[in-house]
Every structure is written in structure tokens, then in C-alpha cells.
């Protein structure tokens, strides 16, 4: 995975890039979960 | 069949006439657009170094930014007055195809925009000592305005029914109008700098394609935008 003979050490940029990618995906999935549980709660309240 | 088409044209004409007559009585819209356009040009004078050497290369851009902003103003006001005075409902009750409203409003908006442009051109020419009254440039202004107004009228019809009415139109319109603006600026620049027609044709073609495509789509979906 880490080639000691790599010409340019761009590891930090790669980490930053993947942090953004995974971070955003995670945030979106979490937002879906949060919104869904909120909706479920509202649904059970309103169907009483 | 022909009678149907004739009444369609009459409806379109009636809408245009109504807007023109109302405007000539009050002249609110045109004066607002005109003053705004001149102010924008004034601001550009300070924002950009319009000295003689750079002037020729930025004129096309300055003109079209001005027209785009003034055009937005006109589009907004034109549709807003429709909604506020409840005219839209009246128009919708008329026994004519809804698209007549679209064409009527679009042509009306186009005329307003052209009037402003026709006044701005000589003023800019005088202020910056550059001859803008060239047939090539006028053609570009016509084609570009048609494209801008055909999308703008449809979007303004929507925007006016949205809460954040005034700010919504530019947000909706500008990303979609990019091809028009690019092509219009490049074509205008081409004519002003005296490039051979062959070079400018690409941009003119782009304008024509855009105009045709978007007028067609707007015409097809207009119904869905005014349904009550």
C-alpha cells in the first residue's frame, strides 16, 4: 500500500480526499436515519 | 382550423397590446430597467479599468451583464404585476390555449428588453467612443435576448408564485442562461473586433439552437406552470 519509492509524497492529500468522501457519505446516511426516526415518531403521534 | 389559429394570434396580440399599453401609460417598468442598466454601466466604469486599450475587449461582456440584470428586472416586474393585479386568473379563464399566454408575455418581455437595449447602445457608444450600432451586433442582441426571454418568462411565471419571489428568478435563470450569455458575448465580441463571419458563425449557431430548443420546451411545459 505504501510504496517507499513513490515519487511524490501525496499521502496527506489522499487522506484529506477520502476524509471528505467518506465523511460526506456518512453525514448524509446519518441525516437519512435521523430524518427517518423523526418521521416515525411524528407518524405515531399523529395516528393517535 | 385557420379560424382557430387566427383567434390564437389575436389572443397573443391582445396580451402584448395590454402590456404595451399599460406600460406606455405608466412607463414604470421601462424607466426602471433603463436607469438600472445605465447605473450598471456606470458601476462597471469604476469596477473595471475601461481605458482605451482594454475597452474593446470587455465591451461585449459589460453589455451582456447589463442586459442580463436589466432583463431580470423586467421579467420579474412583468410577471409580478400580472399576479398582483389578478390579471393572470382572468387570462386563464379565456377560451384560448394556455401557450398563447406564454407567447404573449414572452414577446412583451422581449420588446421591453429590446427597447432598453436599443437605448443603451447609443448611450454606451457616446460614453466610450465606440461604435455599437452595427448590424451584426444588433443581430446578436436580438438572438440572445430571444433566448434569455424565452427561458426567463417561463421561470418568472414560476418565480412569481414562490415566497422568495424576487431573488428566486436570478437563481433559477442564470445557470440555465449560461449558454446564451457565453454565445452572445463571444458573438458580440466577434462583431465588435471585426472577426471574420466564419469564426462568429459557431456562436450564432449556438444561439439559434438554444433559442429553438428552449422556446419549444417552454411552450410544451407552460401549462403545468400556470395550472391553478
Amino acid at each position: 500500500m505504501f510504496s517507499p519509492l513513490a515519487t511524490a509524497d501525496t499521502l496527506n492529500y489522499m487522506i484529506a480526499g477520502y476524509a471528505v468522501i467518506f465523511g460526506a457519505m456518512l453525514v448524509y446516511i446519518v441525516s437519512l436515519l435521523v430524518r427517518y426516526s423523526k418521521a416515525k415518531r411524528e407518524w405515531s403521534e399523529w395516528s393517535k | 382550423m385557420f379560424a382557430h389559429f387566427k383567434s390564437y394570434l389575436q389572443a397573443v396580440g391582445a396580451i402584448i397590446w395590454k402590456d404595451m399599453a399599460a406600460e406606455f401609460r405608466s412607463r414604470e417598468l421601462l424607466s426602471a430597467m433603463l436607469v438600472f442598466a445605465l447605473l450598471v454601466i456606470l458601476i462597471f466604469n469604476f469596477a473595471l479599468e475601461l481605458d482605451i486599450s482594454t475597452r474593446s475587449s470587455v465591451t461585449a461582456g459589460v453589455l451582456w451583464v447589463t442586459f442580463a440584470f436589466a432583463g431580470t428586472l423586467g421579467l420579474n416586474r412583468s410577471m409580478a404585476s400580472e399576479k398582483d393585479r389578478g390579471c393572470l386568473d382572468g387570462l386563464l379563464l379565456a377560451p384560448v390555449d394556455r401557450s398563447a399566454i406564454y407567447f404573449g408575455k414572452a414577446i412583451g418581455n422581449l420588446l421591453f428588453m429590446l427597447i432598453v437595449e436599443i437605448i443603451v447602445l447609443p448611450v454606451y457608444s457616446v460614453l466610450y467612443n465606440i461604435n455599437l450600432l452595427q448590424p451584426g451586433l444588433i443581430l446578436v442582441i436580438l438572438l440572445g435576448s430571444i433566448g434569455y426571454v424565452s427561458v426567463g418568462t417561463l421561470l418568472a411565471t414560476m418565480a412569481v408564485q414562490i415566497r422568495t419571489r424576487d431573488i428566486m428568478l436570478p437563481i433559477l435563470l442564470f445557470p440555465l442562461a449560461i449558454p446564451v450569455l457565453i454565445a452572445a458575448v463571444k458573438a458580440s465580441d466577434g462583431f465588435l473586433q471585426g472577426f471574420p463571419l466564419a469564426d462568429i458563425m459557431t456562436w450564432l449557431n449556438l444561439l439559434i439552437v438554444y433559442d429553438i430548443v428552449f422556446i419549444t420546451i417552454a411552450f410544451m411545459v407552460f401549462d403545468y406552470v400556470v395550472e391553478e
Binding site: 468522501i21 457519505m25 418521521a39 399523529w46 | 437563481i171 433559477l172 445557470p175 449560461i178 449558454p179 463571444k186
Partner: protein, 231 residues
Amino acid sequence: MVEKTRLLTIFDILTFIFMLVAIGLVFFYAPVEEIMGQVQKVFYFHVANAWVGMLGFTVAAVMGGIYLWKGERKWDIAGFAAIEISFVFFLVAIISGSIWARPAWNTWWTWDPRLTTASIVELIYAAYLLLRRGVDDPNRRARFSAVYAIFGFLSVPLTFISIRLLRTIHPVVVGGADPSAQGGFNMTGPMKATFFFSLFAFSVFFVDLLWHRIRLGKLQEKIENLRWHKN
């Protein structure tokens, strides 16, 4: 109450597996690129995100068309879901692309045709989302969204062409880097495999998210209907 179907759970698991495999390929199978180093690996998921972003736009435009034709709310819910997901994915594509560009081309941004068009597309998504916020009546909101999605989608090819012509006829020198550089590296066999698998995994991921988002939308609609009837 919309129960999570068995099928959806299976799909979730599949998605997870595919994504895991894709990540494995990127970090353990694909070789490190010689010139750029590790950052090149961002490319795999960067392009996958962009691909999904555009795919979503297509889906939304089609959903919009079907909604206008049939008038059933479910198409609107699907269209909204597609745009929302595309907005996120495309934004990630743009930012990750920028992070990749910095060490690769020594600039955070270039105004090359693809990137410029990408930013315009992202703005169209944003405009769509703002449009929805500003309309309260669900039917009108659905109609307007559908119309704008269609208009927006159809404007993209023309926008791309016009910017492309702009940059070709008048070449622009941007920060010393060649704006038309395709990333400037050749893909070896394992790289290509990783690349295509990433595209595949992300497409599956998109469908999975879309499914979930539509589920959320349907539940929200049911609540709105219930609320409306009780008042």
C-alpha cells in the same frame, strides 16, 4: 407504516459488501501511481461520485417528465430524492477533485470546461432545492420541480458545449497547469479494474440511497396527509 422490506435489507447488505470490496481494491489492489503518488487513488471515488451525480440528474429529469405526464406524487418524491442525493455526491466529486488537483496540477481550481460545467450543475441542484423550499402547495411544488429538473437537465449539454468552445478557441492559461489534462496518467490493468468496479459499486450505492430516500419521502407525505386531514 412503511415496513422495511426484506428486499431492501438484502440490497443494503449487497451495497455494503460492494463498497467494501471497492475500498479494498483501491487501497490494496490498485498500484500507486508513479508521478502523483497516493493522491491519485482519490480519482477512483472522485469519478464515481461525479458519475452518480450526473446519473441522479438524469433520473430526476425522467421522474419529472413522468410526473408531469401522470400526476402521481410518487414520481415527484423520487425526483426530489434523486436531486438531493446527486447534490451531495456531486459536491463531494467537486471537492475531492479539487483536493486531487492541488498536488497533481499545483492548483486548487481550473476553469476548464468540465469543472466549470460541474459547478454550474451543482448550482442548478441548489436552485432546485431552494425552489422546493419556497413552494408550500405540494402539487405546485411537484410541478415546478419537475419543470425545473427537465429544463436544467436539458441545459447541461449546451452549457458544456459552449464552455468547451470558449476554452478551445481562446486557450486559457491557468496557473501553469494544462487545463485539459486528463489527470495525466495512464491506467494500468488493475487500475482500470478498480476504476470500473468503483463506478459499479457507487451505482449500487446510489440506488440503495435512492430507495431509502424515497421511503423517507413517502413516510413524510403520509404524515403531511394525516396532518392535513386532522386539521
